[in-house]
C-alpha cells in the first residue's frame, strides 16, 4: 500500500513538474540589442544580433531588424523572422541610437529588460552617434564570432585599461537613481566599417547632453574612481624646460610631450562651503614617465621638479576645463551633488534642485604628482 502511494506520488510529480526547456540549439541567443526610434511613425526600432545554431551554416550570427511599440512587441516581431526562440540570457551590450538617447530617453526600455531575471547585471550600456542599426551592421569585427561579442570585448578592454569608466547595467542604474551624480556612457561610432569608442557621453538621467573626448574622460575617471595603471599624454610648453634640455637634434616644436603611465591615483573631494556650494578636490598621483618628446635629464632633481610642476599645472588646467565643460552641459558626472547631499544633514536634495545649483558650484583643485621612475633611459 505504502509503495503504491509512493509510485503514484512520483508519477504525479513527474507530470506536474515539467520545467520550461531552453535547449541551446532551439534558441536565438541575443548578444546585443540596438534601439532606435522611427522618426516618422514613432515606433520603436530594434536591431537584434543573435546566435542561432544550424548544422549547415558556419556563421552562427544573425541580425534581425524589427519594430513595435513596446520591447516585448519588438521581440515578438523579431521572433517572426527567426525559427529560434529569442532569449536575453546571454545579452552583452545594449546600444541606444541618437534618436532615443538624445531626445526621448531610454530608461523605460531598460526597466523592462531588468524585470526579467535572466538578464545579467553586467550588460554594458552604450550609446551611438549614428542609428544603432548602422552601428550593428558594420562588418569588421575582428576575430570575434559576431558584432555583439566584439562590442563586449571592445568596451571591456577599454574598461580594463582604465580608458573609460565601466558602465554596466548595474552601474548605470545605480548612477541613474542616485541624486547628485550623472552617468556617463561610452559613445560608439562606426569608422570605415569598424566600431570604435569615439567619445564619452555625459547624460542627464537617460538623455545624452554632450560628450567628452577619451582624454577628457581621464579626468572624469580621476574624479570618480581610483587609477591603478592609467595613462595620460600631456602637452607642456617648452619654456620652463629651456635650461634642462639635452638636445641631440634641432626640433622646432614649441611644445614638449610627456606620457605618464602606471598612474596610481587617490582623490579626495571635500565640501568647503554650502552656500554657494564650493568644493576642494585634492588628487595624489603616482606615475612614471614612459615617453618624452625631448631629452631631459630626469636624474637631475631640479629637472624632475620642473617636470612635476609643469605636469601638475597642465593637469589642473585641463581638469578645470573638464569641470567647466560639464557645468556647461549641466551634467554632474563627478558626483559633487552626492558630496553636497552627504554633508547636509536633514535635507533631501532632489535632482531638480541640484541641476540648478550645479552650474554655479566652485571647485578648487590641487594635484600633487610624484614621478617615481622614468624608464630605462636617463
Amino acid at each position: 500500500m505504502k509503495y503504491h502511494l509512493l509510485v503514484i506520488c512520483i508519477l504525479l510529480v513527474m507530470l506536474v513538474g515539467c520545467a520550461e526547456e531552453n535547449i541551446i540549439e532551439d534558441l536565438g541567443i541575443v548578444t546585443v540589442y540596438g534601439f532606435d526610434k522611427d522618426e516618422d511613425t514613432g515606433h520603436l526600432l530594434a536591431t537584434t544580433v543573435l546566435y542561432q545554431f544550424d548544422p549547415d551554416i558556419t556563421n552562427a550570427s544573425q541580425i534581425i531588424n524589427s519594430e513595435g511599440d513596446t520591447l516585448q512587441g519588438v521581440k515578438r516581431n523579431a521572433n517572426k523572422e527567426s525559427g529560434h526562440k529569442i532569449t536575453n540570457g546571454q545579452l552583452r551590450v545594449i546600444l541606444f541610437g541618437p534618436s532615443l538617447s538624445k531626445e526621448d530617453g531610454f530608461i523605460e526600455h531598460l526597466d523592462t529588460l531588468g524585470r526579467d531575471a535572466k538578464l545579467s547585471d553586467i550588460v554594458y550600456i552604450a550609446v551611438s552617434d549614428q542609428p544603432s542599426d548602422q552601428v550593428l551592421a558594420s562588418t569588421n569585427y575582428e576575430e570575434a564570432p559576431n558584432i555583439g561579442a566584439y562590442l563586449h570585448q571592445l568596451i571591456e578592454t577599454a574598461v580594463r585599461n582604465e580608458e573609460i569608466t565601466s558602465s554596466t547595467y548595474h552601474e548605470y542604474l545605480r548612477d541613474y537613481f542616485q541624486v547628485g551624480r550623472d552617468p556617463v556612457l561610452p559613445l560608439l561610432s562606426v569608422d570605415s566599417e569598424k566600431v570604435t569608442i569615439k567619445n564619452i557621453a555625459a547624460l542627464q538621467d537617460d538623455k545624452v547632453v554632450g560628450d567628452f573626448t577619451i582624454e577628457e574622460g581621464f579626468y572624469i575617471r580621476l574624479m570618480v574612481d581610483q587609477f591603478d595603471s592609467g595613462l595620460i599624454e600631456l602637452k607642456l610648453p617648452i619654456e620652463p624646460f629651456e635650461d634642462h634640455l639635452e638636445e641631440y637634434a634641432e626640433i622646432e616644436d614649441p611644445h614638449i610631450y610627456a606620457v605618464i603611465d602606471k598612474i596610481n591615483s587617490n582623490t579626495d573631494i571635500t565640501m568647503e562651503s554650502k552656500n554657494p556650494p564650493s568644493f576642494e578636490v585634492k588628487i595624489d598621483i603616482d606615475g612614471r614617465v614612459i615617453e618624452l618628446s625631448r631629452q631631459l635629464n630626469l636624474d637631475d632633481p631640479e629637472t624632475l621638479d620642473v617636470l612635476e610642476t609643469q605636469v601638475t599645472k597642465q593637469m589642473e588646467k585641463e581638469l578645470e576645463e573638464v569641470i567647466n565643460k560639464a557645468q556647461e552641459m549641466n551634467a554632474d558626472v563627478f558626483g559633487f551633488g552626492v558630496k553636497y547631499n552627504n554633508n547636509t544633514r536633514g535635507e533631501d536634495l532632489t535632482k531638480e534642485q541640484w541641476r540648478e545649483m550645479f552650474t554655479d558650484i566652485e571647485v578648487e583643485t590641487t594635484i600633487k604628482i610624484n614621478i617615481e621612475r622614468h624608464g630605462t633611459v636617463q
Binding site: 506520488c9 510529480v13 513538474g17 520545467a19 531575471a117 545579467s120 552601474e171 542604474l173 542616485q178 541624486v179
Partner: protein
Amino acid sequence: MQSQLQIPIDKKIKAVYLFVVLHALQMGVGVVGLPRVVYEEAKQDSWVSVLIAGIALHIVIACIVFILNSYKNTDIHGILAQIFGQKISKVLSMVFIFYFYLMFISILLNYIEFVQVFIFPKLSTGFIASLLIFLVIYAVYGGVRAAVGSSIVFFFTTIWMVLLLIEPIFLMRAEYFLPVLDNSPQDIFSGALKTSYSILGFELIWVLYPFIQDKKNVAKYSHFAMLFTIILVMYVTVVAIGYFSPKHLEMKVWPLFTMFKIITLPIFERFDVISVALWLMVVIPNLILLGWMISYSCKRVTGLKQKHCLHVFMLIALIVATFVDKREYVNILTDYVGQAGIFFGLTLPFLLLPFAIYKRVKGNKS
C-alpha cells in the same frame, strides 16, 4: 505530559552543534531580502538597526538560557506546564507550535518564489513544495540526530558563498553610507524590528535544550551562534548598502541574489542561477529543523505518534503551498510571521523570566 525529560544518551548531541544549528535556522530566506526591508525604514543607517537587533538578540538568548537552566531537563512545553498547569499550557504550546508552523510555511513559500522568479517561472508551486517536503520527511525520519546533522553538513556546503560577495565589495561606494546617523531614532528602531524575520529561529533552543549533553556550554555556543548570525546579516546589509544607490536598493526585492548576479566564475558565466538553486541547501536545514521541532512538540503535547504528526503537518503544508502562490499572500504571511516572531521570539522570554527567577529563589531557600 512529563515535565522532566529523560533523553537516551545516543539521542543526545553536543552543545557545540548549537553554534551551527541555531545559526542555520536563522539564516534562510530572510537575509536575501533583508537589506531592502531594513533600508526602507532606516536608510543609510540600516547597519545601526542591525546592530541594535543584534544586541537585543543577545539579551534575549541570555534570558532564554537562564530560564532553561532554572528548569533543568525540560523544554518550553514542560516549562509552560509547570507554570500554567496542564490544560492551559497545552493551549499555549499549541499556539507556539502553530507559530513555528507558520514560519515553516513562509520559508517554504519564499524559497519557491525565488525559484519561480530566478530559474523556472513555469514550474508549479505544488511541485517544488513536494520536492522540499519529501526531503524534510526523509530527514526528520532520522530523528534529532539527522536533523542536527543535516544542518551541520549543509552549513559547510554553503557557507563559502559569503566569500563570493567579494566582487560586489569592490564596487562599493562609501558615499552611500553618508551622512551617518541622519535618520530619526524611530526610523532606526523600526528598521531593527524589521530584521526580526531574518534572525528568528533561535527559538529552536526552547525545544532542543533537553537533548544537549553538556548543558553548561549551552550559553556559550548559543551566544556564538547569535554573534555569527549578526555578523553575517551585518555583512550582507553593509555590502548591499554600499553596492546599490539608495533608490536602486529600494527597487530590488532580493538584493542578495541581485548582488550574486555580477559574479562570474571561469566555468559559470552567471552565478545567480546556481546560487538560487544552491539556496535550497541553505533553506532545507531550516525546514528540516522546523519540521522536526513541530512534529516532536506535537508528540509532546498531544501524545500522538511523531510520524503521524509529521505526515499531517507536511500534507497540510503541501496543500497550502499549492493554493497560496501569489506574491502578495507570501508577503503578508512573511510580515505576520515577522511580527509574531517579535512576540514569540523576543517578548515571551521576558514574560517567563519572573517565574524562572521565582523558581531559582525558592530553590535556593529550600
